[in-house]
């Protein structure tokens, strides 16, 4: 800031611009929060502050919609998907980073290239397949479906990181008593912690907030996730209780933010390096 040579006018203009952008970003969120505490009769009053703070919507969300059950489902879906993605991507990325074999690069880019594939085309065949093999309406079915994105981008990020770690650390580990596998999990894995946390976060986030797969692959009797439950509560847009909708939106939106704040240190390390 000390070498800022702009005039007061320019500064005011700059700050004004920033304030405008900030407002554009924040206003919808603030309105979500405000609406969640409005009583039903005030919903269509375009006021910022409610006349009366109401918790009716909150009670309804838990007692009528039983939304905590869907939040739990989202948690299981996201966490399971993240764990599975790590289990698959870590060894895979390590092999692609460290081992020489024929067609290594083409294979790798085929895997990463699936990210470009319009996955929406896969939804119907996957749904039919899942019904046939008994994975429809199960967590396992959701976890596996989420791997379609989670594995390729996890491998992409992890491989870059493993490739950047000095090879002689593993060699040192192997000279000083490790098998190759021990060298991997005693030396490489601890070093990859920031990236693994980042990949876990991203994979969790994707599973937590997914709508398309969750909607197609689950029913109200099975592991329906929060994002699908929100949609279902509006009966497909027919009937909207805005205050209830906003409470559910808040409840679904806050956990990723909290997780982000916890993982932020590691995320910064990961994406500053790559």
């Amino acid at each position: 800031m000390t070498d800022d040579r702009s005039s007061p006018g320019q500064k005011a203009l700059g700050h004004g611009g920033l304030a405008l952008v900030l407002a554009l970003v924040l206003i919808p969120y603030v309105y979500v929060i405000v609406t969640a505490f409005k009583p039903a009769e005030e919903i269509y009053d375009a006021t910022w502050l409610p006349q009366r703070i109401s918790f009716d919507a909150w009670i309804e969300v838990f007692e009528v919609n039983r939304f905590h059950l869907y939040l739990w489902n989202s948690l299981v879906a996201g966490a399971g998907s993240a764990a599975l993605a790590i289990l698959i991507a870590v060894p895979g990325a390590y092999i692609f980073a460290r081992k020489e074999f024929r067609f290594r690069e083409p294979f790798f880019y085929m895997i990463v290239g699936t990210l470009i594939f319009p996955f929406i085309l896969l939804i119907v065949p996957i749904t039919i397949t899942w019904i046939r093999i008994g994975l429809f309406d199960t967590f396992i079915g959701l976890w596996l479906a989420f791997q379609i994105f989670a594995v390729p981008y996890s491998m992409w990020i992890l491989r870059g990181y493993f490739a950047g770690l000095p090879k002689n650390l593993e060699e040192a580990a192997m000279v000083y008593g490790c098998t190759q596998f021990q060298a991997f999990y005693r030396v490489m894995l601890p070093l990859a912690k920031p990236v693994i946390v980042s990949v876990l976060f991203l994979a969790f986030l994707q599973g937590w907030s997914d709508f398309l797969f969750s909607n197609m692959l689950t029913t109200g009797d099975g592991p329906r996730t929060a994002s699908v439950a929100i949609y279902a509560s509006t009966a497909g847009g027919e009937r909207v209780d805005w205050q209830v909708l906003m409470v559910m939106t808040l409840l679904t939106g806050v956990p990723p933010v909290v997780l982000y704040m916890l993982a932020q240190k590691h995320l910064a390390k990961t994406f500053a390096a790559t």
């Binding site: 000095p166 002689n168 650390l169 060699e171 040192a172 580990a173 192997m174 000279v175 000083y176 008593g177 490790c178 098998t179 021990q182 030396v187 601890p190 070093l191």
Partner: protein
């Protein structure tokens, strides 16, 4: 029967990369006695590091019986099963572990010693290396020299059959390098453990080695004591690679003229001393004379090779004088003050008896 009882033997080691297209080591033979300090010396890409890595088990040789330690064939054993300790050029310390845990890593993995015994060995090694104060630091908090000491500590506590050091000092500044090489040699003497030390620095090799193996293009050129490497190089490459400032080379013709054997070059015609003349009596032939700068004298009397002093460089107690003799640059090493200045006309006397004689392919003729 392969292998001496206690040392390391490398037998006909061959190592190729890229499906046999790149030959890194070709027919490398070494015999390192127990407690001996062998230096593997050569320019970059000569195969010295690959040889060391084959000994350590970090590379897989092409032939099955290349590496013998204490009379056992180790060629296909995993690195951890060889009881050899490797010190890396860039230290390769584990960044997530403290210095203490780095040093004890190998013992922790081995799991044979008690916690107290491991701590005792770590303390002992730290004392030897004078890094007691650093034990609770992390590698990123160490200077280059300290890092290399920790790398040595990690090796020492293993009490291995041999230390394998891959250019451990290359990344350090000059003063530290000189200090550390003395220290490494003292430690090696004290522990009386076999050591193989890879370097591209001929001065380092001469000062530290009990024996030096000079390598070029994947092949061992000569294995000898530092004195013999310096005084009796087996070929032109060894003669030029060893010694600083580098050796003078003269392409000459050997001619029998009037009962004398003469050495004829574009800038001089000299009679060989009788003893040398007898050895070359065979026939007229071309050869290369190699003469270290300290065996060229700046003469006072008439005769000798005429030249003009181009440059003088003070090298501490000695001075290097570069003389242009009819388009050929000759390096002369003079003790103390040279007594000549740039632009002076001088006459040079070659001490032919101290010269090295090579055929035109660079093989020694003596």
């Amino acid at each position: 029967m392969h292998g001496t009882a206690s040392g390391i033997e490398v037998r006909n080691l061959r190592k190729t990369f890229g499906g046999g297209t790149v030959v890194a080591c070709d027919d490398v033979n070494l015999d390192i006695g127990s407690g001996e300090l062998l230096v593997l010396l050569g320019p970059s890409g000569c195969g010295k590091t690959t040889t060391l890595r084959c000994i350590a088990g970090l590379e897989n040789p092409d032939n099955d019986d290349a590496i013998w330690v204490r009379g056992r064939n180790m060629t296909r054993l995993a690195p951890r099963d060889r009881n050899l300790a490797f010190v890396f050029q860039d230290t390769a310390l584990f960044p997530n572990l403290t210095v203490r845990r780095n040093i004890s890593f190998g013992l922790d993995m081995r799991g044979k010693l008690s916690r107290a015994e491991i701590e005792a060995r770590v303390t002992e090694a730290a004392r030897l290396l004078r890094i007691e104060g650093l034990l609770d630091r992390y590698p990123r908090q160490l200077s280059g020299g300290q890092g290399q000491r920790v790398g040595l500590g990690r090796a020492i506590v293993m009490e291995p059959d041999a230390f394998l050091l891959d250019e451990p000092l290359a990344a350090l500044d000059a003063a530290l390098r000189v200090e550390m090489r003395t220290e490494i040699k003292l430690i090696q003497r004290k522990l009386a453990t076999t050591m193989i030390f890879v370097t591209h620095d001929q001065e380092e090799a001469l000062t530290i080695g009990d024996k030096i193996a000079v390598m070029k293009d994947g092949r061992v050129q000569q294995v000898d004591s530092p004195q013999d490497i310096y005084r009796r190089p087996s070929n032109l490459f060894v003669a030029t690679f060893i010694g600083s400032p580098p050796i003078n080379q003269f392409r000459c013709e050997l001619r029998q003229e009037g009962g004398e054997v003469r050495l004829v070059s574009p800038i001089f015609t000299l009679s060989l001393p009788a003893e040398l003349a007898r050895r070359f009596a065979a026939a007229d032939r071309g050869l290369i004379l190699g003469l270290r700068p300290e065996f060229v004298e700046i003469g006072r009397e008439a005769g000798g090779i005429e030249g003009v002093v181009r440059l003088t460089e003070l090298l501490g107690s000695r001075t290097l004088v570069l003389v242009d003799a009819g388009g050929t640059e000759i390096r002369v090493l003079v003790q103390g003050e040279p007594g000549v200045r740039e632009g002076d006309r001088v006459r040079l006397v070659l001490q032919l008896a101290r010269g090295f004689y090579f055929d035109l392919d660079g093989r020694s003729l003596l």
